[in-house]
Symmetry: C2
Subunit: 252 residues, 2 copies
């Protein structure tokens, strides 16, 4: 297989075990440039930084491996990686391995997947990997052959324009295989833990629990539950074509 | 028409002319609760705040009108509005009027539309309004009858679950009508203005220009260009169903 130019990022920050593992897996496929946030950026979604300047710290610069951190979000990392750190557009962008599932509705909140969507907007094939366990000490090793299979497949067969991949890995020692899935239905049932500080002022901590609405056959939630890697093709055209006719009455 | 409970937010902040105008338009439809960021939050997309506490400032509290600001993002505003400020779930959520277009790919970066998508995840009918002009002194008044028509329609006919509306308003004195559209294709061609500070350190300002790839018949970009309000139904299921078959080979 031809060696390619790969940009690696994440949203848990440059020192998270997930990205260290992903860098290690990716090395066999080509030249690596890492551009990752210098601190955790979970839940930043598709945020971009334009009111403050961005700063880059060089960690390693060798012929086949370059590593940088920055004070930006995952989407900023894609922009800085493509435009400042790399001299040519990457052939592939990978993001993760995220500590925590980005299956189902989590894709909307995820910084890991925002980086992937940004790459997709730029026309670069992109894959986000997430492990269904928030604990940074969770076992990543079981996912290695599956990440390799997916990356190898994407390098060989490509991804059509406007599509990127949301890959979630079950937290089991023996993964059963890969399933191509649709997004399951769920939401975060938020609550607030409201408190009063010593000066008598109210403040609120966001809390929440993940409420599954539908995890039937074919959904990413079902695949993960059954011990399979879920792979959901995601598109950047958010138009609900099937609902357009519902609003035609407003055109009169 | 029955009076309803409405939650109003935006991403330009509580004092932006756009939200003041939208509040004024919405008053005839029911009881209003405003929960908006205390400072501009453009480009924050679907960010949520969980590592820091949220604080609410009460601005007005009367029987039919309540107004609050907070230190959160637009998505935080929806969560705080629904769960802390209001005693019942709202019947409708409106966001905007944003200063600047959220047509085409802007929907992905937009805090205005993130609030709408968050409401949609929560099962509340939601509409985002944006004016195709970044200047806060731009004329909002021409949009009033069209916002009224859309809100009235949604109150009477509803929106199916999982769908929300991205409405963009052309910056013209005489708007021609409303068109139900699909998302046009465009991207931000980013650049960085890289500088060196007095201490010899490099820093980078994000810049960018909007590059239209496709604004053909039926797209929101075309409607705006022609002087029509564009209305795009947006869904929260990001699965690219038509692309699922492309990746079946990875299941082997």
């Amino acid at each position: 297989m031809k060696k390619i130019k790969i940009l690696v990022t994440n949203d848990d920050g440059i020192s998270a075990p997930g990205i260290r593992f992903l860098i290690d897996v990716m090395k066999e496929f080509g030249d690596i440039t890492v551009m990752a946030p210098n601190k955790p950026q979970s839940g930043t979604s598709h945020s971009i930084t334009f009111a403050d300047p961005l700063r880059i710290k060089t960690i390693a610069e060798t012929k086949h491996y370059k590593e940088y951190s920055c004070n930006g979000t995952p989407v900023d990392c894609i922009k800085l990686g493509e435009n400042v750190a790399m001299s040519e557009k990457p052939d592939l962008i990978v993001s993760g391995v995220n500590h925590g599932s980005n299956a189902s509705i989590n894709v909307v909140y995820s910084g890991t997947m925002a980086a992937v969507i940004e790459a997709c907007i730029d026309g670069v094939p992109a894959i986000g990997f997430s492990l269904d366990n928030y604990n940074e000490t969770a076992n990543l090793e079981a996912s290695r052959p599956f990440i390799r299979t997916i990356v190898k497949g994407v390098i060989e067969k490509g991804i059509q324009k406007g599509i990127c991949l949301n890959v979630n890995i079950p937290d089991v020692d023996k993964i059963k295989g890969i399933k191509v899935c649709r997004q399951g239905k769920a939401s975060w049932q938020e609550g607030f833990d409201s408190r009063i500080n010593p000066r008598g002022e109210h403040y609120h901590w966001l809390t929440g629990s993940f409420v599954v609405e539908e995890e039937g056959e074919g959904s990413d939630l079902k695949a993960l539950k059954d011990g399979y890697v879920s792979l959901v093709p995601i598109h950047i055209d958010l138009t609900a074509y099937q609902a357009m006719a519902d609003f035609k009455y407003l055109e009169e």
